[in-house]
Symmetry: C2
Subunit: 142 residues, 2 copies
DNA sequence: TTTATTTACTTGCATTTTACAAGTAAATGC
DNA sequence: GCATTTACTTGTAAAATGCAAGTAAATAAA
């Protein structure tokens, strides 16, 4: 994995996709943001089955981009805890919109079908709530 | 380019990223959605410089996914017009959220800096407006 | 205290995707 | 009738991803 910080343009969409525009990054953020996962092992077990080297690689990229932080578990020397930064938590609205689009146009699992029927207000409220929770965790620990 | 319809899971985020989770698809949609582009040549000239074979490949994928349509220009046999479907127009809120995140955390070009300062209401209104315009075009032609 | 297991990776290699340069073929413009 | 436009295709190199196996330190179990 080389350090290649080449930027395609200065458009916000392009700059963002330079970082998160791949098939895995947002799934990692999804699992951290609302599936309660926070270790390498947890993330490795995500239902989509990410390859171990790809996960390792992505975690380094996301950490360098300051989307996640890596810290040692208290009382343990062999466990690390990955957590979203504020920048990472702010990716949540993107994920929510993607999830909404998916639930509208793709054959999603039963639990997610309902999302397509949510009103914009409901979705916004849900998004706000998740972000608030993660943000609270973030400020409480330091 | 092979037909590989393998799906990683039935999560809406994952299913969506199976289609649009790459560095180019959403930039193509961006250019179609609000830069007024509609031909292969136009898209090829996008500021990020997409490779010609990648563009050709992505257009096929997006057409198969029913995100865009391809039609012949009236009065011309050598020009094609690419346009967003409703499913494609519905990607706009995702792009808008990505643009917002980018304008907040990346070094975007001067014209986009202001986006980071927009209130949620303003962004929602803008998004709604762009979608309304595209949707109007879509219904007017048929 | 030795042994097994957990945790977080790395390494090597095959496959796929993307990048870059060049070429093609039909339609149009001059 | 010849150059140009338009929309690609082809070939090849480089990068990203997928898969299987291996490693090394820390912890738990016997």
């Amino acid at each position: 994995m080389e350090d290649k910080k080449k930027v395609r343009s200065n458009c916000g969409v392009s700059l963002s996709l330079d970082i998160i525009g791949d098939k895995w990054s947002l799934l990692i953020v999804r699992d951290l943001a609302f599936l309660g996962k926070d270790t390498y092992g947890d993330l490795l077990k995500m239902e989509e089955g990410i390859a171990t080297n790809v996960l390792a690689d992505r975690l380094v990229v996301l950490e360098k981009a300051e989307i996640i932080t890596k810290e040692i578990f208290v009382g343990s020397k062999s466990k690390f805890k990955y957590r979203l930064t504020e920048k990472g938590i702010d990716l949540y609205p993107i994920i929510m919109e993607i999830m909404f689009w998916g639930s509208k146009y793709c054959e999603v699992k039963p639990e997610q079908i309902g999302i397509a029927k949510m009103t914009k207000q409901q979705r916004d409220a849900f998004t706000k709530d998740v972000m608030k929770k993660r943000h609270k965790e973030l400020t409480e620990r330091s």
